[in-house]
Each structure stands twice: as structure tokens, then as C-alpha cells.
Symmetry: C2
Subunit: 231 residues, 2 copies
């Protein structure tokens, strides 16, 4: 079955969230009157796993990671690019607590929207609710893809997958400057820093990619895709 083959990490979610377009002027004003915009510096924690969720967040500028913190390990659930909502999971959640942390990969601008206002609008505008369902489902599909990637593929496959994903979804170019450190990149790929470096070198030696520090260039897209499919 062909479709089964195309399981990609899809570490990155929607291109751009458009749900607010289904709000009327009044609802939009209500939202706008109940939000604050905050700047977060590179590396800063935007929201902390286990704390009470009082806001839904909207990333208006920057790049962030959503991750779970265990006792020793952390798991990056997804990367959130600009113009996307963060923290929807806490919307209707009996515990009312964030199940994950969010941190800024680069300097970021975040709008904090009062969660109760958000809930109120949801309950009165079914079109808006449908849009949110749409977003939640897109997120679920993406998470399943990454779940599959991280559990079923081996290291080279995961690495290829994530390189392609970043190129396709974040940078939208075959040539880009990685905004993450090697340690962050390793964490994202679910492996150790040492191994990510070794494996990147292998890709470089095999002429699949060109690397110079943080500058990446994809040379053989198809071969990487193949390694991602099974590598």
C-alpha cells in the first residue's frame, strides 16, 4: 500500500493558523481586549509543564519547541513555527494544567490569550469551534507521524526525516541556516549529540548534504527521502 510508505515526521505543524477569520468583529475585539503580548528571548521557557494553564498562546514571531520533561530525558513533541496557536490541549482538560513545556529556539513574540475568554468564544461560535477541531486534528496527525518516526525508524532514518522536514516546512529552501545547536538538533532527532554529529558527517561524506557549521544544503533530496522511508 503506497500511502503507508509516506509517513513523515511532520515535526512541524500547520503552515499558518487561520481560525480567527471565523470570528465576528465583536468576538475579535473580545479576544484582543483580553490578551497581552510578551517577548521571550532565545532559550527562555514560555510555558512550564505542570503549571496551571491560564492562557492559550499564539506565536506571532519566532520558533519554539513543545516538549515533555521526564526525570532525566526530555521528548520534543513538535516544533511550532510563527502564526500558530500553542497550548490548546489545556482548553478542556480536567486538570487544567499544561502537560508539556514550551521554550523559544530563537527570540520570540507570544500573545497570551485568556483561556476563559477563548472557551467562551468557542462555546458561542460553532464555526470557530470547527476550525479549532481542524487544528487539533492536524496536530494529531502530525504527532502520530512523529510518534511513528521516533519509535519505528532507526537513527539515520530519523535524521534524514527531520532534515527534510525542517527544509520543507520551516525554511522552505534546500539551503538554510539551522537555528538550533547540535545539542538541540540531537534532542529533536531523539539521539545523542555525539551521534547526530557522526551521522551528519556520514551524510556529508556520502554527499547527501553539504554542511558548514550551521549552514545546511540538501544535495540529494530523493536519497534522503529513501533513507527516511527506511534507513
Amino acid at each position: 500500500m503506497l500511502i503507508g510508505k509516506k509517513i513523515n515526521t511532520c515535526t512541524v505543524g500547520l503552515d499558518r493558523c487561520t481560525c480567527f477569520e471565523s470570528l465576528n468583529a465583536e468576538e475579535l475585539e473580545l479576544i484582543n481586549n483580553n490578551l497581552v503580548e510578551v517577548e521571550f528571548k532565545k532559550g527562555e521557557t514560555i510555558c512550564k509543564q505542570g503549571t496551571f494553564a491560564t492562557h492559550v498562546m499564539y506565536l506571532s514571531k519566532g520558533l519554539t519547541k513543545v516538549f515533555m520533561e521526564g526525570q532525566q530525558d526530555t521528548l520534543v513533541l513538535k516544533i511550532i513555527p510563527e502564526d500558530n496557536l500553542i497550548g490548546l490541549t489545556a482548553l478542556f482538560n480536567e486538570t487544567n494544567v499544561f502537560q508539556y513545556s514550551v521554550a523559544a529556539y530563537v527570540d520570540s513574540l507570544v500573545k497570551l490569550i485568556d483561556i476563559n475568554i477563548f472557551r467562551q468564544v468557542l462555546k458561542q461560535n460553532a464555526k470557530f469551534a470547527s476550525e479549532i477541531i481542524n487544528i487539533l486534528n492536524a496536530n494529531t496527525v502530525q504527532t502520530y507521524g512523529r510518534f511513528f518516526c521516533l519509535t519505528q525508524k532507526q537513527a539515520y532514518g530519523r535524521l534524514a526525516d527531520i532534515i527534510l522536514c525542517l527544509s520543507d516546512r520551516i525554511y522552505k529552501k534546500k539551503e538554510f541556516e539551522l537555528l538550533l545547536s547540535r545539542r538541540e538538533f540531537a534532542e529533536l532527532s531523539g539521539m545523542t549529540t555525539e551521534n547526530v554529529i557522526r551521522m551528519l558527517k556520514k551524510f556529508k561524506d556520502d554527499k547527501l548534504i553539504q554542511i558548514d557549521g550551521k549552514k545546511f544544503k540538501i544535495l540529494k533530496y530523493d536519497k534522503l527521502q529513501e533513507i527516511s522511508n527506511y534507513g
Copy 2:
């Protein structure tokens, strides 16, 4: 941080779906007039990854697994117990295709609800939509937990986690008869059949559980919890 420690698989979702209670008589009739109930035998495929999603499903009786099929491996995303919706992910999905397969662990009864009727009700009843958002979010939290478990814990921890989860959420007893074969149980735990057998034996030798074929009895819940937390 204490909360971080309590990451459990939560392979199993909501106890019971109650969203239909927010429908009025008319909407309920609409749904009921547009569904069929189908029986699936143990092992049968209820829905196949890659096929067009024409229905949302409601498991009225039985036990099923939701899983992704790769080229060689399969990943069990979650277990769905009785009285729960299946296939919500396909509701608002540009591809309109199931991203996963569903199969019956035991003989099961499934109500197939026309997806367009379901969408229609969603768009006209914001309360219902909110309930669905609730369900989707509960599912996401659960998936994140299992994602963490399968990627960050090692085999003994995963096994302990899943035994506890089945006991707590499915059987609701310390003593139960496992409905899955060793192969299915291994697949669920993300390891090979050989290893699951070896490790169960270890748990048995260590007097953490009692096993006789498919009959399981948890002897040391706390110790298993500890192994699950880090094992």
C-alpha cells in the same frame, strides 16, 4: 518537580464518551437515522489506513487497537475500550483519509456514523463541538504520554507501565485475564515477542506479578510503578 514524574502510558483513552448527551432530540434522531451497527470478529480490520473516511465510528462493545502500519513495522497508537468514538481525526482533514488502521482485539460491535452528518451537527451545536474538543484533547494528552513512554523508557519500564495501565483502565482489577496474545502484547509494548516473554518471566521471578498463561495478577503495584517511573 513532582508532576513530571507521573508520566504514564495511558494507552487507554477516556473511560466513556458522553458527548451525545449534549445533543437535542432532533440531532440525536438525525445521527441515529444515519448510522449502521456492524459486528467485527476478533482480529478483523475495522478501518484501514489510507482508505477514505466516510464514517466516524463508535465502539459500543469490544476492545480495539488503533495502529499505524509502516513498511515492516506497526505502531500501536492506543487502545480503545467500549463506549468510545474512533476516527475523529478524519473529521476535518484535507486528505479525508484515515491515517491509521483499527482492528478488533476481541469480537466487537461498531456503530458507523455518516461523517457528513456528524460534521453538520458539529457546525450547528457549539456545545457538542466543545465536547468533541474535550475528547480530542484528552486523546492528545494520552498520546503524548504514550509517546513519552515508548521513546524515553526502556523495555522493563514500558512493560510495567502497560501492565499497570491495562489493570487500571481496562480491567479495573489487580487480577485479570489478558485478552491479547503474547505477540499482540509485545507489539503494544513496543518490543519483540521473545523479549516480552523473557521480561514477564523476570517480573514473575521477582514476585512482582503472578502469571499463569493469560491470567495476570499484580502483586507489587508500587514496585511496578517505580519501575515504570524509571526502569
